[in-house]
Symmetry: C2
Subunit: 310 residues, 2 copies
């Protein structure tokens, strides 16, 4: 008798899974921070098939700063820096998950971390409007690196880069096969390496895709059962940061769309997460959840976070 | 009736597949250079199951130089830089192979590029003797970055780092499953991310593993049929660089071992390749071939390169 396949859970890890507020972001700090969210995912891997995606904002910004400080070697385009962060963070997540699985004595499933590239539309209007914050936050605008677009964000002044919409994940077919073969798959890091079609081939583009939007596209294309976005707050709140702030436990996509248009969610932080969740549900997804990295397990079990439903 | 599985071919791509002699090594140059060797591998994928590995010497050295020039962001340990080069080069090889397969109209197999980490022994004597050249070559010793070990190599003076022996490839089980499922797998980049056992977990170490020795270990652990090392010369030569230089077409491991001890092969270039080939054959491997990136296809067909046999 064939077993019913386990449901598939995609966890999109926010930047705070690696670097906490106020930290410098050394590698030992990043490994230490990863243990808590990854341990929960290790436990969940007993009952779910697992895909893990992650952001790369601070890491890709650091690589940009480093290469701009060095005249001796050729500069790399942004898509190559994204690829480098996939190697870096993919390794950190995979080896942490390996340890946690061993530590919990859980039967070790095959586990891999994949390079992923993602098609964007070269005519995306985002190309004329850099909007995604990357790298360090500066208290004053004049402290940011000169000659680059900078925006004020919740964390301070940050450099911004072009962030087009993800159109399709190149490795979707492979990821689906791997999930069906019960591999745990880490992929789509930093929103994926952005490429545009050029005839029958692809050409890298100077951009960084939002990791929640890319994860939503992957969740849709692979057909996952639960799309969970793990961030630094318990869920989606109305009047966020105000005295009358109110967390929502359940919200329909229609309500979420209305709150979005009323400006309840800060651009560049909660707003793309809510959009990503809406897109997943709109594209026939079943369950989308936004929660904190501390409550991943509870949220999967329906005990925490905000559910976005049809 | 079940088809006999195709034989497995592992191609270890040398640094010249990405950066040619005298080039600065920009990303467009690296993509352009990759097309020729990758096109041959694309053709071979019709008759063989394929694993591709690659070096990272110039790329990891560049990352080191870049981070040393920048005081603003935390320094990363060497194993993280290796992980970054796996992302970078894995992406470049995967996307080039994708294009070449499409261009040739070859039925596209599943194709992925994997993060790979490799166990080393923390008591390896290499830890007290940095020997692996990385990064740019300098004409004069005093031009090299200060405060770092430097050695004279065939290309000039280069920084050297610790290079321990690979003990085992962590993802060997996954790679074997993938090959059996007819995936084309790019892995073990830059010799793999070096880690040492620490209780039940692994800890990254400040080193770079030789990519040919790591590829030999992978070839053994996965059980490949042909282990091919592609480099910048047609094969193994006696009296290399001298007027009486003589290429060898076939050499037994006993002969190869003797030539090695007689110093026919330059340390840090042909010597580890011959050692890697010997190790593979000694560990029950069938065919090991050393050839140029121009002659990968001919060498697989037995028409070029040097075969190392039992």
């Amino acid at each position: 008798m064939k077993e019913t396949p386990k449901p598939t859970l995609l966890v999109a890890l926010g930047g705070n899974a690696l670097i906490r507020k106020g930290e410098e972001g050394t590698v030992p700090q990043q490994f230490k921070n990863l243990a808590m969210p990854i341990r929960q995912i290790a436990k969940l891997s007993q009952d779910y098939r697992i895909i893990i995606t992650h952001g790369n904002g601070p890491q890709v910004g650091n690589l940009l700063l480093q290469q701009e400080s060095c005249q001796e070697v050729p500069k790399l385009p942004l898509e190559i820096l994204v690829a480098q962060t996939q190697g870096q963070i993919g390794y950190m997540i995979e080896s942490t998950l390996d340890s946690e699985l061993m530590d919990l004595g859980i039967h070790v499933k095959p586990l891999i971390s994949l390079i992923t590239y993602v098609v964007v539309d070269e005519n995306d209007p985002a190309f004329s409007d850099p909007s995604k914050p990357i790298g360090p936050a500066y208290k004053r605008k004049k402290d940011a690196p000169p000659g680059q677009p900078v925006r004020k964000t919740a964390k301070g002044f940050r450099r911004v880069v072009v962030s087009p919409q993800p159109v399709t994940i190149i490795e979707k077919r492979e990821i689906k096969k791997l999930i069906n073969a019960d591999f745990i798959v880490i992929c789509c890091g930093g929103g994926g390496i952005p490429v545009a079609r050029e005839g029958r081939a692809f050409q890298g583009v100077d951009a960084v895709i939002d990791k929640d939007l890319a994860s939503s596209k992957l969740a849709e294309e692979v057909g996952v059962d639960i799309f969970l976005i793990a961030t630094d707050v318990s869920g989606v709140a109305l009047n966020y940061g105000a005295p009358d702030q109110k967390y929502l436990r359940k919200v329909t996509i229609k309500e979420a769309q209305q709150y979005l248009s009323e400006g309840h969610f800060p651009a560049g932080s909660m707003s793309p997460k809510v959009e990503a969740a809406i897109q997943f549900i709109r594209n026939q997804g079943k369950r989308a959840v936004i929660t904190s990295i501390e409550e991943i397990e509870s949220a999967v079990n329906g005990e925490a976070g905000t559910e976005i439903t049809a």
